[in-house]
Subunit: 133 residues, 4 copies
Amino acid sequence: MSNITLEQARKVVDAAIKKSEELGVKMNIAVVDAGTNLVAFNKMDDAWLGSIDISQKKARTARYFNMDTGEIGKLSQPGGSLYNIEHSNNGLITFPGGVVIKDGSGNIIGAVGVSGSTVEDDHAVASAGASAL
Amino acid sequence: MSNITLEQARKVVDAAIKKSEELGVKMNIAVVDAGTNLVAFNKMDDAWLGSIDISQKKARTARYFNMDTGEIGKLSQPGGSLYNIEHSNNGLITFPGGVVIKDGSGNIIGAVGVSGSTVEDDHAVASAGASAL
Amino acid sequence: MSNITLEQARKVVDAAIKKSEELGVKMNIAVVDAGTNLVAFNKMDDAWLGSIDISQKKARTARYFNMDTGEIGKLSQPGGSLYNIEHSNNGLITFPGGVVIKDGSGNIIGAVGVSGSTVEDDHAVASAGASAL
Amino acid sequence: MSNITLEQARKVVDAAIKKSEELGVKMNIAVVDAGTNLVAFNKMDDAWLGSIDISQKKARTARYFNMDTGEIGKLSQPGGSLYNIEHSNNGLITFPGGVVIKDGSGNIIGAVGVSGSTVEDDHAVASAGASAL
């Protein structure tokens, strides 16, 4: 298993913060490794307190299923095939803002979760973070 | 970060109780500080037991995202952008009754959560509490 | 079942605060009813954050077994008859600071838990609170 | 209440990593704010996975009671005045490695928790982190 290093995780966080500053938003940013364990976390000043947990849950949710969190959310709606999957794994977050992180060879080495603004901003910041490697 | 004092929190609780008595309802009233820690709580006689926890979760939810809990609930519906956000932070309550508390300068210093009647009454009582400062 | 009223619970809290001020300590004070449900809580300014939970657990522990929390702690030591009873009920606190509250007829109507200083101070403040009725 | 900024928290983490490298150890390092909310976290490569949670619990425990975690551990032993306090607050860690963080005026603005080696190393790294401000 390829696994994200702390050096890589910090690059992801810093790229996410840079993107947040460009957008004028205050974010919580979490990076987990290939085993869904937390590697790095930063809470920007005045970012929502409730997003500390959400950013970590987004990162884990993305790695749990190797897809953007928003994709899972499409399937977890009432009547959907994964209805209420959020009850598993001590709580999933299935709206956008969680994105897998790949190395240069395309192997998934972790995931980043971002929370603190609209889900569009959250996803844009997470994507900017994941693209830093 | 400005933080609510016990003296202020007790004023919030007393104003909420006064409003509850005017409305003829029995409420649970919780006040948390800027860090979401509980500062004061009162359960009116014969208020719902299940609302002890709900009032505290409403107060924390309001401070977690710096908005009325009912605003979050509009976005967490099926198909909404924050669907099932309630699974985060050991359980959010996203219907009305949680309101942030500001000091005279407009700084958020805590939040109040009220539960025990209709969500309209809950919100009215919480607002009366928050307005006491 | 006789049960403590909010008016009585507030008298307990105020007596506990008065005693805390006399001792020069900062306390968290929780009152539960005969069913172990929270009725009133106050956190004095600058009291320990970790004692918010402990004060509530002390109050519940006292009512769970109808005795001072310190009495249970004597039995929960290694080799004791109630070794590690603290694992039950989502966590007990079995050192001093939790005291049952009785009405004028000697009926147990609730309990008070206090945390924020030495266990001797905690117990003295809890006892002052319970004696207010 | 004064509160640690992200810039300060990152200085604490970086100083802790530098000390860890000097000692030749692999650490998990967590920084919480004055309200015990997570602000920054780094897991050094190959640091123990079980220490991700422990470092965060140490940081919170230090701030919960405004003292080094090891001081609490002396009192929570069998027969001690705070025996089994670890059952509170969703789990405390009371051996060394958690240290409060103060600003230049002596105000507590947060805490740092370190886990990954002996408790002596954990404490030394946490202290180096806290001293960076």
